[in-house]
């Protein structure tokens, strides 16, 4: 469960305050939520706030659950360290002991299919490879919620299928908050929907309703 109380979020820009959320109070029941909204509506900011690396300007967001870091494209990796060293680092952040760390390394090495690149510096990776490492790494931990921002489209077709399958298995034991512009992915993985539009959050118990509303907005109907 995620509870937003009077949450306002704005950024100060040269053109004055840009509002992302305006006095939003909403309680989201547990579930797999697809997040929709136009570019710049504030989907990523919302994800970052849930991941506690961005903070509301006013109000509060509370939840008894644990959240992953926002899974974006290769963020949080250090370029001149190897993939393996980065995996080790993140495992240590989560307080894993040496044995657990070795298990996680073995899992990510196997899942990401990076071959020799796993032991090479991240700066030699393509963005698809970074995404694979990032995704594999996040699967190795157990969160209540995984925050996924468009990362499912990484890698080639075969890896995409594999990632999708792994994620489906994963959401048997956890929930996801998924930002995606692919309606099929959203329908496939999420049951409920959250639409970010004009500073407000609209919750739909059926993802199909959220998608229908989103498509209306895109057609210019208000």
């Amino acid at each position: 469960m995620i509870e937003l109380k009077n949450v306002t979020k704005y950024f100060r820009t040269n053109q004055g305050k840009k509002y992302i959320l305006k006095d939003v109070s909403i309680t989201l029941p547990d579930g797999n939520v697809g997040i929709l909204g136009r570019n710049g509506a504030g989907k990523s900011t919302l994800m970052r706030m849930l991941g506690r690396i961005e903070f509301p300007s006013k109000g509060s967001i509370t939840s008894p659950n644990s959240f992953s870091w926002p899974l974006g494209l290769g963020g949080g990796f250090v370029g001149n360290m190897t993939g393996k060293a980065n995996v080790k680092f993140v495992s240590r952040l989560y307080g894993k002991n040496e044995k657990e760390i070795n298990d996680i390394i073995a899992y990510v090495r196997d899942f990401s299919e990076l071959g020799d690149y796993f032991d090479m510096p991240i700066k030699t990776y393509s963005s698809g490879m970074k995404g694979r490492l990032s995704f594999g790494l996040s699967l190795a931990f157990d969160f209540d919620y995984m925050l996924i921002d468009e990362t499912l489209s990484v890698g080639d077709a075969r890896f995409k299928d594999k990632a999708q399958a792994a994620l489906k298995k994963k959401i048997e034991s956890c929930h996801i908050l998924l930002v995606s512009h692919s309606m099929n992915t959203l329908k496939d993985l999420c049951q409920t929907g959250l639409l970010v539009h004009e500073g407000q959050l609209h919750y739909y118990e059926d993802i199909n309703d959220a998608i229908a509303r989103y498509e209306d907005i895109n057609k210019g109907k208000s």
Binding site: G51, I53, E54, S66, F67, V78, F89, V90, R92
Partner: protein
């Protein structure tokens, strides 16, 4: 995932950051590693040569071993300078890591300071080893006080580094300015000469510099022939507590901004 308590999280994060920073420092290749540890020797040797050139070999005969005097001061000052410069860039360089919510900006400074202390420790051992080979008299007058002086200097460096690191996150010029300034400080911090060797007018001016007090304290504790008559411990304390409070106050106010910068 079962919730963890703040202290274990902090310890796990600092440990992870420490090992990561250390790994990065050690991964610079053999040449890079060689210079990390050899540079201090080269610099101390250079300053001894400069001194001999200015005063002449005979004028430089002191009742104590001058090379030891220089090394003790230089290692301490070098540690201060390295802590300051690595704290300056700690927030901006580790920005990517703030996407893990358990990594607080201040953890990155703490980890970097621990790395600098670790490297300083190795440098001290190497200097002692070389001094031993040269059969120098290496026994300090008061080992506990030398350690206390070094540790106090670490706290002072942390305090100043925190203020500068926060400032540098919002105004990059601050870091550049401090970089230039810390080089000038080396000459004006009584690293390479005892304060008693310069005219009283100069002493008075230099004593405004808190680092002079640290250097005099450490020199006095190590070398039998020198004492701490110029050291004003209250002045040092003021210079430690003031930046520490300013730094902490700024940090508490700006932590969230630093994370989401």
């Amino acid at each position: 995932m079962t919730p963890r308590k703040p202290l274990p999280i902090f310890l796990a994060v600092v440990k992870a950051l420490f090992l990561r920073e250390l790994g990065m420092r050690m991964s610079v290749g053999k040449a890079g590693l060689f210079w990390t540890f050899f540079e201090p020797f080269a610099q101390v040797a250079m300053f001894i040569l400069i001194r001999v050139a200015i005063i002449g070999a005979t004028g430089s005969t002191t009742s104590y071993n001058f090379a030891v005097f220089m090394a003790v001061g230089f290692i301490a000052f070098n540690m201060f300078r390295n802590i300051l410069s690595s704290s300056t860039g700690a927030f901006t360089a580790n920005k990517a890591l703030f996407s893990y919510k358990q990594v607080k900006p201040i953890d990155t400074i703490i980890a970097r300071i621990m790395v600098e202390m670790f490297i300083t420790g190795i440098i001290i051992l190497l200097f002692l080893f070389i001094g031993f080979l040269l059969q120098y008299e290496l026994k300090p007058e008061n080992l506990v006080l030398v350690f206390a002086g070094y540790l106090w200097l670490v706290v002072f460096s942390f305090a100043v580094g925190l203020v500068v690191g926060i400032g540098n996150t919002f105004y990059v010029s601050i870091g550049k300015f401090v970089g230039i300034f810390s080089f000038l400080l080396m000459i004006a911090s009584a690293v390479f000469f005892p304060l008693e060797s310069i005219p009283p007018a100069g002493q008075e001016i230099l004593l405004y510099n808190p680092l002079v007090h640290f250097m005099e304290m450490i020199h006095a504790a190590y070398i039998y022939e020198l004492d701490d008559r110029f050291v004003d411990y209250t002045y040092m304390l003021k210079w430690t507590i003031t930046p520490l409070f300013i730094g902490m106050w700024l940090y508490v106010r700006l932590e969230k901004k630093i994370i989401s910068q």
